[in-house]
């Protein structure tokens, strides 16, 4: 099991009353499973993703990533977890503007000390970036930037890929292509995916779906793959 979440809660002490963002969330993710995390804005989807990635701290409950409870890990160990086990894809791409496409793709894998140039090259070609490797992010389109973000996340062969609306900034056709490439590449890398999405169409392409509402798991089920 790559991810095990039990009774997870997250509270923000922002004002007079604490704001409960996540309450008693529990679910698991196996091997190379793919799971779509759905819900309206403010339902806690991104917060859940951040907690799993060790970017934020839970207020209660358990998060086990690849068998390690990350809820009480120090800053340095969560950073190591992000380098070694987890891959991250954001809606805004969040590429490093000072590096070329090629360096961006290799960046995470090199940080983790697992850079495989052949695999990186294969990924780049697989998702159609072979002609843009020496360009800087500002010189390529939004769809291409998101492909770079996907390649970057998968180049390190993470056990778990966390994707926060990875196609949210793209038009429908491009989004379909990019998501298809992400799913295929992840399968080749042996990576499980936890993806936040607003789009039922994209969610339907995942193996499982989980809907959050006001911080609680409202519905969980098996997705019906879109044809």
């Amino acid at each position: 099991m790559v991810l095990n979440i039990q009774h997870l809660s997250k509270r923000y002490d922002t004002g007079a009353e604490p704001v409960e963002v996540l309450t008693d969330v529990s679910f698991e993710l196996d091997g190379t499973e793919t799971l779509a995390l759905e819900g309206e804005s403010g339902s806690g989807k991104s917060t859940l993703l951040h907690l799993v990635g060790g970017l934020d701290r839970a207020s209660g409950g358990l998060i086990e990533v690849d068998g390690i409870d990350i809820t009480s890990l120090p800053d340095g160990r969560t950073a190591q977890l992000r380098r070694d086990t987890v891959g991250l894809i954001f809606q805004q791409f969040n590429l490093i503007p000072s590096l070329t496409v090629q360096s961006n793709i290799a960046f995470h894998a090199r940080l983790a000390g697992r850079h495989d140039p052949d695999w990186a090259q294969y990924l780049a070609t697989r998702i159609g970036l072979q002609d843009h490797l020496q360009k800087y992010p500002e010189a390529i389109s939004g769809g291409q930037q998101q492909r770079v973000a996907i390649a970057r996340a998968l180049a390190a062969r993470p056990k778990l890929l966390l994707a926060d609306e990875p196609t949210g900034n793209l038009d429908e056709a491009t989004a379909d292509t990019v998501l298809g490439l992400m799913l295929e590449s992840a399968a080749e890398a042996g990576t499980a995916i936890l993806m936040v999405t607003h789009s039922p169409r994209q969610a339907a392409r995942m193996q499982r779906r989980l809907t959050l509402s006001r911080g609680r798991v409202q519905r969980a089920g098996v997705a019906v793959a879109a044809s």
């Binding site: 923000y12 804005s41 403010g42 991104s46 951040h50 990635g53 970017l55 934020d56 701290r57 800053d75 340095g76 950073a79 190591q80 977890l81 992000r82 380098r83 070694d84 991250l88 954001f90 809606q91 805004q92 969040n94 590429l95 490093i96 503007p97 000072s98 590096l99 360096s103 290799a106 960046f107 995470h108 894998a109 090199r110 940080l111 983790a112 850079h115 500002e138 926060d164 609306e165 949210g168």
Partner: protein, 794 residues
């Protein structure tokens, strides 16, 4: 609409307080350093004017002897008999009880009436000339009274008199100066009888409209100060330019929206100008106040420098003179105008649909980088032209300005190349990102780094100059002060008794005798020296005819100091305006006035009334001689000084001479350090979107903060490396061009790697300190702030 537009524009500064602080602090500091220097200059000039007012004879012509020697009473009487309406004046300085006072003696009966009234206004003499005519009456400022406690004079204290000056009847002053029959110059009345016979050929009449001697001598020194003030101002303006340019790029969206909502571009420009005008006023006011404090702190040292170098007295009290504070405010407005001109021009040409570029700073840098490179090329070409064909102090400063500003403009490109090279040879993803990201930060930091480059180059240049000077000066003192003891007696009769005694005891006595003269319209001193091995072996000769000492002993000419040689373009074989052939040129540091050395015998022939009261003593056992002199003749205080004391005194005068430039250097470096701090703080908020992904990919905040510190150190170190050759070029221009014009001497240039290393370490410490706060803030940034970068609902 105007109010709403202003609110929209000002909201940017509310949201970016560090940027506002950058702007205000940069402008205030630039104004402060400029104002401080101008306040010092204004105070000094006011003191010179006051001193010149000791005898405000500017409206009258003066008659002098062409060879610079003094008139005798007989000369004066002869002119009066010829019908010339002239009035005698004697001028000279005395030093008593650590007070140097400029004495002016006049003859009230023949002095033009308007001049007499002006001179005696506010004094008892205003009620009649009686007081001035009283036996041994002297008008002095209360501060100078101490100088005359041992003199037989009746002091009339008058607080309106300039400090360091005294006025009395010519007979009284002649007595005080021990020049009983001397007249320095003759004031020529504006009304003269018809049909006067011409004046003798050896006399000449000088226009009274010229500047005072001291103002002319010190002009270069003040120009030097002004140049440093301007350099400091330029450092500050770099910061302002950066802040204004960045704010413009960040507000493109606001401009577009305001224009889309119907605000005319002209109104928008007026609002921006108004906004900057208010900032200029606030920063200018702060700068003037700071400048006052800087000037007040530096004035005592400047006063000491001017006294040591030029014998010019300036008061230690700083006054709030409109001349400098208005110039300070004017510079604040002008500086803001220059810094904002490019942004305003861009606004005028901004298309309505211009987009707000997410990489505002890079875009701004890219656009300005091109014209900066073009301007730098132009500046280097101009500097080259000034170096080849320019003459004088102006050309020297113009060369410096071209060199410094050109180099500063080239810096971003050079840094980018250096970082690119470092990136190429780096191994590992983190190192690669580090160098690439550093290059990405350059636009935001380039102005601060330019300021650092200028400050460091100025430091290296000035410290090389001062240290070269110190090394040369110390060697020079060893040559020039070769006697073991220096004796000073009150009267020539006493001197004869003491020196005769010393000679019988086997002590070599070398008289030091001099007379004030004028050469080419400026005051100078002529010395008579004895033909002795002390001079032959030690005198710091720079250039001379063969057998120079034999020729001097045979009265075939004179030696002159370097400043006199350079000022009048003289060398061995040329002739002085006095007619003496120049036999050689010697170095004479720590003194701006000209000097002429002739043989003792020739001096006695020219100035038979002059007798030596100062002597250099060569002795095998100077301590025993000193003890004997003190015991036998009761010599006290500065009557007998040993060589070490005199060297220590000379070196202390030297150190104070350059304490002002050292202080200005330190202030400039501090401004640059502050510029880095403020730039980093401004960047800190803009940096989060660039740092958050790296954090998300597996780096801790602490790690990122350490990398930020390392980045600041690397950028400062690379800038420092570029500053070394620039600083050395600056030193060369200062030594070879500016100093020669300002002081009249040229010094050899030495290199001081240890000093540069020390400065480098100081700069790195400054950069580290400047980066520390932003780094600590980054290390403590809550994760939710970093997460906002990725938030879909941003």
């Amino acid at each position: 609409m105007t109010r709403l537009g202003l609110i929209a524009l000002l909201s940017h500064w509310r949201r970016n307080p560090w940027q506002l602080l950058t702007l205000i602090a940069g402008l205030a500091l630039a104004t402060a350093l400029w104002c401080g220097v101008q306040a010092i200059n204004a105070e000094a000039r006011a003191s010179y004017d006051k001193a010149a007012d000791v005898l405000a004879s500017g409206a009258f012509n003066a008659m002098r002897k062409a060879d610079g020697s003094a008139f005798s009473t007989q000369d004066y009487v002869a002119l009066r008999r010829m019908g010339w309406q002239v009035s005698p004046v004697i001028e000279g300085t005395i030093e008593r009880n650590d007070h140097v006072v400029q004495l002016v003696g006049i003859e009230p009966m023949t002095l033009p009436q308007s001049l007499l009234e002006r001179e005696t206004a506010g004094t008892e003499a205003a009620r009649g000339n009686g007081t001035l005519l009283q036996a041994r009456a002297l008008f002095v400022h209360p501060d100078d009274a101490a100088a005359f406690t041992e003199e037989n004079v009746t002091l009339h204290l008058n607080a309106q008199r300039p400090v360091g000056t005294a006025l009395g009847d010519i007979a009284t002053v002649q007595g005080l100066l021990r020049k009983p029959d001397e007249i320095t110059r003759l004031i020529v009345d504006t009304v003269q009888p018809m049909g006067l016979p011409p004046i003798p050929e050896t006399y000449r009449i000088e226009s009274g409209a010229g500047q005072t001697d001291v103002a002319r001598l010190t002009r270069s020194f003040h120009l030097n100060l002004t140049a440093f003030g301007l350099l400091s101002f330029a450092v500050g303006i770099f910061i302002v330019y950066g802040a204004v340019g960045l704010a413009f790029e960040q507000r493109r969206g606001v401009f577009r929206t305001l224009r889309a909502l119907g605000m005319p571009v002209r109104r928008l420009m007026v609002l921006l100008a108004l906004e900057l005008g208010v900032f200029s006023l606030i920063a200018g006011g702060l700068g003037v106040a700071l400048g006052y404090l800087i000037a007040a702190a530096l004035l005592p040292d400047v006063a000491a420098t001017l006294r040591g170098l030029y014998g010019a007295e300036i008061t230690g009290q700083l006054q709030l003179r409109p001349a400098w504070w208005l110039s300070g405010l004017g510079m604040a407005f002008a500086g803001t105008g220059i810094a904002a001109a490019a942004a305003l021009i861009k606004l005028a040409r901004l298309p309505l649909l211009s987009f707000n570029h997410p990489r505002a700073m890079s875009m701004h840098a890219l656009a300005s980088g091109r014209w900066m490179a073009a301007v730098a090329c132009l500046l280097f070409v101009s500097g080259f032209a000034f170096a080849l064909w320019g003459e004088g102090l102006f050309a020297g400063f113009a060369l410096l300005a071209c060199l410094l500003v050109g180099a500063a403009f080239c810096l971003p490109a050079l840094l980018a190349l250096a970082l690119q090279a470092a990136g190429r040879i780096s191994r590992g993803a983190l190192a690669e990102w580090f160098w690439a990201d550093s290059r990405q930060q350059l636009p935001g930091l380039s102005m601060a780094l330019m300021a650092l480059l200028l400050a460091m180059a100025a430091n290296i240049g000035v410290s090389t100059m001062v240290s070269s000077f110190r090394l040369t000066f110390t060697g020079y003192l060893d040559q020039r002060l070769s006697s073991e003891l220096y004796l000073r007696l009150d009267t020539a009769d006493q001197a004869e008794i003491v020196t005769s005694d010393l000679v019988t005891r086997g002590v070599t006595v070398l008289p030091i005798i001099s007379e004030e003269i004028r050469i080419a319209g400026l005051p100078a001193e002529i010395y008579g020296v004895r033909d002795h091995a002390t001079y032959r072996e030690n005198w710091p000769i720079l250039a001379a005819v063969p057998d120079v000492w034999d020729q001097l002993a045979a009265d075939r000419g004179a030696l002159i100091n370097e400043q006199l040689a350079r000022r009048n373009d003289l060398g061995p074989g040329d002739a002085l305006p006095t007619g003496d052939p120049v036999l050689g040129v010697y170095s004479d540091y720590g003194n701006a006035a000209g000097q002429v050395v002739i043989s003792e015998a020739e001096f006695a022939r020219r100035y038979p009334q002059k007798r030596a009261v100062r002597f250099g003593l060569r002795a095998d056992d100077p301590e025993a001689v000193a003890q004997y002199l003190r015991a036998t003749y009761g010599l006290q205080g500065d009557a007998l000084i040993d060589q070490a004391q005199l060297k220590a005194f000379s070196l202390s005068v030297f150190e104070r001479t350059f304490s002002v430039t050292a202080a200005l250097n330190l202030l400039t470096l501090s401004v640059a350090g502050l510029a880095i701090l403020i730039s980093l703080l401004t960047l800190a908020t803009l940096r989060l979107p660039q740092l958050a992904p790296v954090w998300a990919l597996g780096l801790t905040r602490r790690h990122l903060a350490l990398l930020e510190l390392l980045r600041a150190l690397c950028l400062a170190a690379i800038t420092g490396l570029f500053a070394v050759p620039l600083g050395l070029m600056l030193a060369w221009v200062l030594l070879a061009v500016v100093n020669v014009e300002a002081f009249g001497w040229r010094l050899p240039m030495f290199l001081f790697p240890a000093e540069y290393l020390q400065l480098g370490i100081l700069t790195l410490c400054a950069a580290l300190l400047a980066a520390l706060w932003p780094a600590i803030r980054l290390a403590r940034t809550p994760p939710d702030r970093l997460l906002r970068v990725f938030s879909n609902e941003r």
